[in-house]
Amino acid sequence: RSATDKSSEGAGASATPKRGGTLTLASGLDYTPSLLFAQSAMTHVQRLVFNTLTRYDDKLQPQPELATSWQLAADGKAVTFKLREDVLFHNGRKFTADDVIFAVKNLQNPVRSAQLRSTALAVTNFEKKGDFELTLTLAHPVSNLFDLFEFMIITDEATVEDAVNGKQLIGTGPFTLAGRNPGSSLSFKRNEKYWLPGRPYLDAVEIRVIPQADSLLSSLKTGQSQLSYDVLGKDVAALKGDSQYRVKEYATGAGAYYLGVNLSAPQVQDKRVRQALAWALDRDRLVKQALGGVGFPSSTPWPKSSPVYSEAGAAHYTHNPDKARALLKEAGVDTLTLPLAHANTPGGTAIAQILQYDLKQVGITVELQPTDSATMQKQLISQTMPALWTLSHGFAQLHPATLTVSAYPFNEAKNSSKFSSPEYTRIVQEAWNRADGDSAEAKALYQKISDTLLDEAFVIDLAVAGRTEVATGKVAGADLNKYAYLILDDAYLTA
């Protein structure tokens, strides 16, 4: 036998789905059980093993999953779900309204550190009508309610602790966890009793953890794996031409690269200085050189799918050193030296160096601080970042309010930048506390938020690049939800 033979070639997915086969997915990161309920970088497991109540379509309209239908109260202070009645957990238990109640309460628990906790906390009361109808009462209307239900996986209460301790995963999802080898692999078997008839097509799913970017690429190239969402931009660019691979971009995941500014540093408390930073950066070059041309330069966090996205907003800040210098002069700053923390990965370092160089051109000296992810995270959470840092953030792909109440850099109440202004708080709350998430005035408020972000520039967005799916020709039907949960219900291998 040979470990290298690719069982079949052939590009282009054939039309008719086919049962059977094992799909091997290459992941750059390992799964962290303790982060099961938090939005983290590795989100392949959630939607394989579990389900959510609803699922967004491309226009952010919720579609049925475990919930067959729902009714939002006129004042937006309550929502009533009708649930599927034919759903079994992997351990054979029937899925009922109680599981939904637990799921919400679970997210309210601070230890789960779920980003949408704020939204979950808005749920104040539960009302069952039988096992399959449930009404949630809300403290106030929330515009991003269904962001929560897109996010919230339905878990088995009895085994939830095992889940976060990495012992077992019991859900209702299309696949059951068959085995885990930390640092190297996860394997899943088909859930024979899945509620969606005839699904999933695949017999099994194998996730290989391959930290080394180029090793990961080789595994795709040699057919060792058929699917990955962690191929580096530069390599994606190289693969785009190749008919052997299908490349698909999602407006999801940790979608935007940004330059964070910590206002506790005196030099950057002047808004004009921050705006100067924003003007000084050459986003086009950054996308071209550091992101390998994947994604698009933008000074707003929003992906194109977002209701607030606008060409104007994206192009608000362009590469304009003179303007930057002018603003600095205006702010009375002639020489400025700032530390910049960045991930000590090749990618992170590349971005940081580009930022450093561009800022140097407008007379701002930047001292790079390569930092390993653990330390970076601590600083982000404990608001102890240096004056500047660069990372990427998610949550812009959803209802704009979510970003501002859930994502740490933007959180109106408490953010890594230590930024706060009554105005910002007001519009955020206003945008959030309303039932009509998609109404015109809602959109107007979102626009305000967007403008405020641009104006205050405490988070300076650089580029928006969602997850990129790279699949070899033989894989079809793989999908991600808005939180980049991997969905393989309809995935199959073409013979």
Partner: protein
Amino acid sequence: MALLLTRRRRPGLLSARGLTGLALVGAVALAGLFAPLLTSYDPVAQSDLALAGPGADHLLGTDDIGRDLFSRVLYGIRTDLLISFTAVPVGALLGCAFALLAATSRWADMSVQRLFDLILAFPGLILALAVTAILGPGALPVVIVIALAEIPGFGRQLRAGILVQREREYALAARVGGASRLRVLVRHVLPNAVDPLIVQGAVAMSVAVFIEGAMSFLGVGVRPPEPSLGSILSQSMAYLSTHPAFAIAPLTAVTALVLGFALIAEALNKGIRR
């Protein structure tokens, strides 16, 4: 007694091997030394022209964020030599200090050896990660890690040498002549025991270049954007399949250095083994 039999020509540095080594190291070192004269490019200046192949205006092409590779490699050589030439002596001195300490008493000897064991037993890369995490990034942790790593090598060498030389009759003679233990150790034994350290030194230099590379690969090397051979090399690894030229320049420099030092070491070794 055919003691004369042992009289042999000392090849030493001037052997063909030694000269080749010197030439290699010398060439690389000079290139680094005269970097400003050899290239007009600023090693950290970026441009839109990324990953350009070797050509007229960029001798070796440019890296992924449009910096001139030739000048980066030249300045990288500087960094590496600077690191090596500080770290190795430090490690050597510490190692020797411990070896001397060990020579003072049984107990000291025992504890020093255990210390060496400890250092040797400790996985180097983990140590590198830790030290950098503690001190923050930069050349300093690299120097420290290298120095630490070199201590046992030098220490054990010298200790062995001392043990041998101590038994020589001239050491005894010094004692009879009335010299104190310390004087015997420092004035008589030590000078005769240091020879092999020169070899060790040359070896250590190549090891140093190596460690620098490995640390950069783990993202705990010198602070960007300062170029170092290791950082350029690890940077280039991501492009090995698409732009192999990127890796060749730093690789050649590293190889030349390590090869050179190794050759020098061998030559010295042959010279010393009279």
